[in-house]
Each structure stands twice: as structure tokens, then as C-alpha cells.
Amino acid sequence: MLAYTVRRILVSIPVLIASTFIVFLVVVNAGDPVANFATSRQPRPSPAAIQAFARHIHANEPAVQRYWNWITGVLHGDWGPSVQPNLDIGHDLFTRFRVTLTLVAAAMLIALVLAVVFGVFSAIRQYTAADYTITFFGFLFLAMPVFWFAVLLKQAGIWFNEQTGSQFLGTIGEKSPYLEVDTTWNEFTDRIGHLALPTITLALVSFASWTRYTRASMLEVLNSDYVRLARAKGLRRRTVMVRHALRTALIPLATVTALDIAIILGGAVITETIFQWHGMGEMLVESAATVDVYRTMAWLLLSAVVVIGFNLIADLLYAVLDPRIRYD
């Protein structure tokens, strides 16, 4: 196992380099940030300013050289210049990562708990009205575009605020810029209020797909011989469910969860834009739209490490949880 892990990590390094190099070439050819700079301000920047800008972002150097300088720079903490003035890419990256992590962790936790509960319930009560309703809503949530739902959710949030006469639910940002009465409790409720709507939005799709997955997996386990044996032995239903069926059923879910989380961490773009959480997703869209090469690369590096890492975790989890699988 250890050898396998080490090997996978070592192999990840060329993968990372290849990935960053490909994207570097793509973004460098995506547009001309110098021309954008020259036409973006009113009054137009002077020729001296334009040249200074071009030098600053290494626009006139050959791509391979720029890539080499970037990667050697990253190794000692220099993330390169951004198109935006004054921006410390590294600091910005990790701040935004923290924001996205908060959002994703909360959402995934809720999605996971709810998915297990509803999935198991649905499997046990297969083909009853409850099962059909859960199935239907699962499919419905899977079928809804995220921002379509987010827009409606915001309206519902405001309606809720108006009905309760409070300002509990916030629609923009992580927290309010100021609190009239600044106590720890108020700070806590303020954070929760701002976390509620985006978390529901983000959790929704994962919840729907994980519920289906849990249900299918649970059904397969409930039909298996050893569960039938356990019941035949006369064990109580609760014991059978939890100790035997559930634990086996959750194995594939664990790996799917790991993969999905990696995907979402890479860019909960829509949720972040609609609720104005300044996280990784917003960073990618901004840097792609402004052809900010070094900022896109910073995003990519962190995101790629996360994806590769979680893929490895998923594969390892699978081996750990299912004793039939062996890696050599």
C-alpha cells in the first residue's frame, strides 16, 4: 500500500507539470492583455505606461522561457505578476481557497449526511410512495441548473426574512460588514445566516446524486447472501442494517464522494458569483476573462493538486474499505 501511494505521488509530478504546461500555452494564446490594458482606461494610458505594463507581465518573452521562470519561481514562493496592479497572487490564492473550502466543507457535510439518510430510507422502503417521492425530487434536483435554483432560493430567502421580520439570511458575502452589537454569538449567527443559502445551493446536486448512489448500493447489499444469512440467524433488524448492510453499502459512496468534492473545490463558480463569495471559482473566471496568465496558473496548480490528491484518496479508500481489492 505504502509503495503504491509513494509511486502514485511520484507519478503525479510529471502529470502536474504536463497539465500546467498545456494550460499555460492555452492561456498565453487566449488573448492580448497588453492590448486590453491599452484600451481599458479613459484617458488612454501613455505609450510609456503600456510598455511598462508589458514588461511587468513578461508579455514579450517566449512562452517556454516564461513557463520555466514561473515554475522555478513558484518553488521559492514567487507566484509571478498579475494583470491587476498590486495583487499578491499567492496571498490572494490562499485567502480564496479558505473561502471556497468553508463553503464546500459545509455543503458536502450536509449533502453527505442527508444523502445517507435519504438513500438508506429509500432503499429500505423501496417502491413505496416515500421512495418514489425521494426519487422524483432527487431527479428533479439533478435536472435543475444551479443558478436557476439559486435565483429562486434567494427570492425565498428574502421572503423568509420579511415573514420573520428579521435579517437572518444574508444573500451576499460571508458575513456582514459590521454588527450593531458585536458579540461572539451575533458573529456566529451572522456567519450561519450568510452560509445557509449558498450551502443549500451547493449541496443540492451532490445530495441528489449521492442519494441515488446510496440507494442503489444499499439495495445491492440488502439483496446479498450474507445479509440474508444475518437475518436468518435472527439478528435484530437494526443490527443487520447498521452493522452489516450499511457499512458495506457506504464503500462505493466514499470513493464517489472523494471525486465529487475534488470537482466542486475546483470551482463552485456559479454559487460563488451569485452569493458574492470571493473564492477560487470567481478567481478562475476573473483571471481567464482578463487573460491573467500567472493568476490562472496559480489557480491551476492548487486545483490540480487537489484533484490528484482526492483521486488518490478515493483509490486508497477503495482499497482500504474493501478487502477484496489489492494494489501491488
Partner: protein, 306 residues
């Protein structure tokens, strides 16, 4: 005596020795089809989906407004003249939704086809050979998984003018890696089965085993996955249009229509809800069809005795 007996029961009884009792043999495909046809929700969804498909592709030829020409009626609510209303510039929303559905379906189906083809072959080859080949191929798949959709889609959509096949190609080019993982897992378990050993013993080449034995037996998860890809394809295209990297005007897609109308939720709701309803309808029906297919391919999940 025999004549009397035979005369007395003409046509109702055959001599036992001449009667051979057989049943019609059903092929695998027929079995799957029968199980699918019995799944009520999937059948209804299939009918609805086919209707939407026909409406989207044939409808524009029968409708007198074009999605590209504006009319003098600006921002009108649905009426007999404009069943889905019009938008701010006077475009007939009915024509636009038809066109949008057409484009979204084309994109989604192309994504599903391309992604499944490439991913299935990739995953099957990797799973079959194992060892170094498997490792390399899956690391390449890992590499593809790290590439950011939004950044690449931005570049492609601005260079290509947002034509739908490029958008589909980009999304397919990034999603095949998931299909490959799934197919590889299936093939890994299948390759230990006896029929593969038998084929090898008979001298079948590697390609033959992969394409004639392994892939057809993995068809279940592959097809189910493909249907899911159609649904996620539409939703991904919607997400891209929301940030502006998807289909570009003057062409339109359901995702573009909904994202253009996101501020109109309260004020001109027909522009927001109708395309959204179509996205949901298509994704929903596809999901049900996929569910039906999954049940059809794998009938082990029957009613559990309590």
C-alpha cells in the same frame, strides 16, 4: 379404435410423440428491451423526450417566426401571436426556445457520444492490459481531469465564435476521463471471468477480446453513464453560458436563454421559467430513461423481502 378416437377429437389433441414443447428463445437485447418497456416512468420519459426532440428539430420549419429576426413587439407576455412571449428586442421566444432546445440537444448528445466512445475504449484498454499501460493511460486521464473547463472553454468560445460543436468538443474532451474510470473498473472485474479465459485459449487477439467480449458486456454501465452525460452535458453548457463562455449570439441555446433572463424572474417571468422548464424536462426525462436502462440491464435489484 384409433380412428374413432382421432375422429372424435379432431384438431384439439396431437399425438404426444409428435409434439415438441418449446418456448421462444429471447436474446439478451430482447430481455433488456422487455424489462425497459415495463418501467413505466422510463417509458413516459422516453415518449416525452422524443416529443421534445421532434418539436425542437421539426418545429422551426413549421413556425412562421424565425429565431433570428426581430419583430416590432417588444417584451410582450405570452399571447396567441407569441405563445412564449417576446424578449426586449422583440424576438419571438417560441422560436428562440425551439432553436435553443435544438442547440442544447445537439451539444448534449454530441458530448455523450464523443465522451462515451473515447472514454469506453480508453478505459477498456487500460483495464485489460493493467500494469504499465494501465498506469500510463490512467495518469493521462488524471491529467485531463485537472484541466479547468472554464479557462479552456473561454479560449475556445472566443476563438471559434461560440459554435456549438466546439463547445461540445471541449466538454467531451474533458469528461471522457470519468467514463474511462468507470469502464476500467468494470473491465477490471470482467477480465477475470471465464469467458475471457476461454476466448484467450481459443487464440483471440487482444483487440477482439476487448471489442467483442469486454465492451459489449460492459454495455450496461456504459449506456447508463451515457444517458447521465446527456443530462450533465446540458447543465454544463448552461453553466458555461452563465459566465459567458458558452454558445454565443446570434445562435442561442437553452442555457444562454436562461442566463440572459436571470434578472427577469419577477419582471418578465416567461423569459426565465419557460427555458428553465425545458432544461429541467430534458434532464429529468433523460435521468428517468437512464434509471430505466439501469434497471433493465441489472434486474437484480428486485423487491426486497422485509
Amino acid at each position: 379404435m384409433t380412428d374413432t378416437e382421432a375422429a372424435g377429437s379432431a384438431g384439439t389433441q396431437l399425438p404426444p410423440t409428435e409434439h415438441e414443447f418449446t418456448i421462444t428463445q429471447r436474446t439478451q437485447t430482447q430481455l433488456v428491451l422487455r424489462r425497459f418497456l415495463r418501467h413505466r416512468a422510463a417509458m413516459v420519459s422516453l415518449v416525452v423526450f422524443v416529443l421534445i426532440l421532434l418539436w425542437a428539430f421539426i418545429g422551426p420549419h413549421l413556425w412562421h417566426y424565425s429565431y433570428q429576426k426581430y419583430t416590432p413587439d417588444n417584451s410582450q407576455a405570452p399571447s396567441w401571436k407569441h405563445p412564449f412571449g417576446t424578449n426586449a428586442s422583440g424576438y419571438d421566444a417560441y422560436a428562440q426556445v425551439m432553436r435553443g432546445t435544438q442547440t442544447s440537444l445537439k451539444i448534449a448528445i454530441l458530448i455523450a457520444l464523443g465522451s462515451t466512445l473515447l472514454g469506453a475504449v480508453w478505459g477498456a484498454v487500460a483495464g485489460f492490459y493493467r500494469g504499465f499501460v494501465d498506469s500510463t493511460m490512467m495518469r493521462i486521464a488524471d491529467l485531463v481531469l485537472t484541466l479547468p473547463l472554464f479557462a479552456i472553454a473561454l479560449v475556445i468560445s472566443s476563438r471559434s465564435g461560440g459554435s456549438w460543436y466546439w463547445i461540445a468538443a471541449v466538454i467531451a474532451g474533458l469528461t471522457w476521463a470519468y467514463v474511462a474510470r468507470v469502464v476500467r473498473a468494470t473491465v477490471l472485474s470482467l477480465r477475470e471471468k471465464e469467458f475471457v479465459e476461454a476466448a484467450k485459449a481459443l487464440g483471440a487477439s487482444d483487440a477482439r477480446i476487448i471489442f467483442r467480449h469486454l465492451l459489449p458486456n460492459s454495455l450496461g454501465p456504459i449506456i447508463v453513464n451515457a444517458t447521465v452525460l446527456v443530462a450533465t452535458g446540458i447543465l454544463t453548457e448552461t453553466a458555461l453560458s452563465f459566465v459567458g463562455f458558452g454558445v454565443q449570439p446570434p445562435d442561442t441555446s437553452l442555457g444562454l436563454l436562461v442566463s440572459q433572463a436571470q434578472t427577469a424572474v419577477d419582471t418578465r417571468p416567461w423569459l426565465f421559467y419557460i427555458p428553465g422548464a425545458f432544461i429541467i424536462a430534458i434532464a429529468l426525462t433523460i435521468n428517468f430513461i437512464g434509471d430505466g436502462l439501469r434497471d433493465a440491464f441489472d434486474p437484480r435489484q428486485q423487491r426486497v423481502r422485509q
